[in-house]
């Protein structure tokens, strides 16, 4: 249910993992590579992971969700390697019997991914490249609830 892969991600496949006969709602989050970040034009992205630990931390997020929303079923696939604009970097699928829980649990998952999963993004522009994350001036040691963090 929790996968780090170098291959393109199939939304249908991740979704199928969470469909249940008694869950009428599935919410997907699909993160794609965005061309403009803070006005700067991205040409491509490279994602590097610490794969074994990243997989373990995705699983931990699944466990956290099941504590908070016991009926939720969660699957997450994150891609690594070089991605082009509009390529899919991550798919999160959550099914629940009631749809509000699926939205909430899914949003919880993406916030937590950005906090605790050891994956790093390098942006390539026309005039250079940079690992994202190293310019943050704050400690990201994970504890408790996710903070409100804007998507990069």
């Amino acid at each position: 249910m929790f996968v780090i892969t170098k291959e393109p991600i199939s939304i249908e496949e991740v979704t199928k993992k969470v469909v249940r006969r008694n869950a009428g709602a599935v919410v997907n989050f699909i993160g794609t590579v965005r061309e403009l970040t803070k006005g700067r034009r991205t040409l491509a992205l490279h994602y590097e992971a610490y794969p074994a630990m990243a997989q373990k931390q995705l699983k931990r997020i699944g466990d956290e969700i099941q504590e908070r929303w016991p009926e939720a079923v969660v699957a997450i696939t994150h891609r690594t390697g070089s991605l082009d604009i509009s390529d899919i970097a991550v798919v999160i699928a959550v099914s629940t019997p009631h749809r509000k829980d699926a939205y909430r649990a899914n949003e919880y998952a993406i916030e937590r991914i950005k906090q605790i999963v050891p994956i790093w993004k390098k942006e390539k522009w026309e005039d250079g490249e940079e690992w994202i994350g190293d310019q943050l001036e704050k400690t990201t040691y994970p504890k408790g609830q996710p903070e409100e963090v804007e998507a990069p």
Binding site: G31, Y47, E48, A49, Y50, A52, M53, A54, K56, H78, A89, V90, I110, I113, K114, Q115, I116, V117, P118, I119, W120, K121, K122, W131, I132, G133, D134, L136, E137, K138, T139, T140, Y141, P142, A151, P152
Partner: protein
């Protein structure tokens, strides 16, 4: 000897996937201090993973553990 895995800009900056510290037991806090000094790193925002779980500053790292330095993440 404890081997410490490095990723992303840390790996590029050090020019290697792994660095070695000459201890058999060391606290996470002391490990970070030693790496900061030896490699002139700003480790304030780094986490340490021991056996693929985040470790506290008081935790003890032992030879044979799988250890990694985790700079701020940017996946998702």
């Amino acid at each position: 000897m404890i081997n410490v895995q490095c990723f992303a800009h840390l790996r590029e900056r050090l020019g290697q996937n792994e660095i070695t510290v000459d201890h058999n037991r060391i606290s996470v806090k002391n490990l970070l201090e030693e790496l900061a000094e030896t490699y002139s790193l700003q480790t304030d925002s780094f986490m340490v993973a021991v056996n693929e779980e985040y470790a506290d500053h008081d935790d003890i790292v032992k030879a044979g553990d799988t250890v990694a330095l985790i700079p701020p993440v940017s996946g998702g």
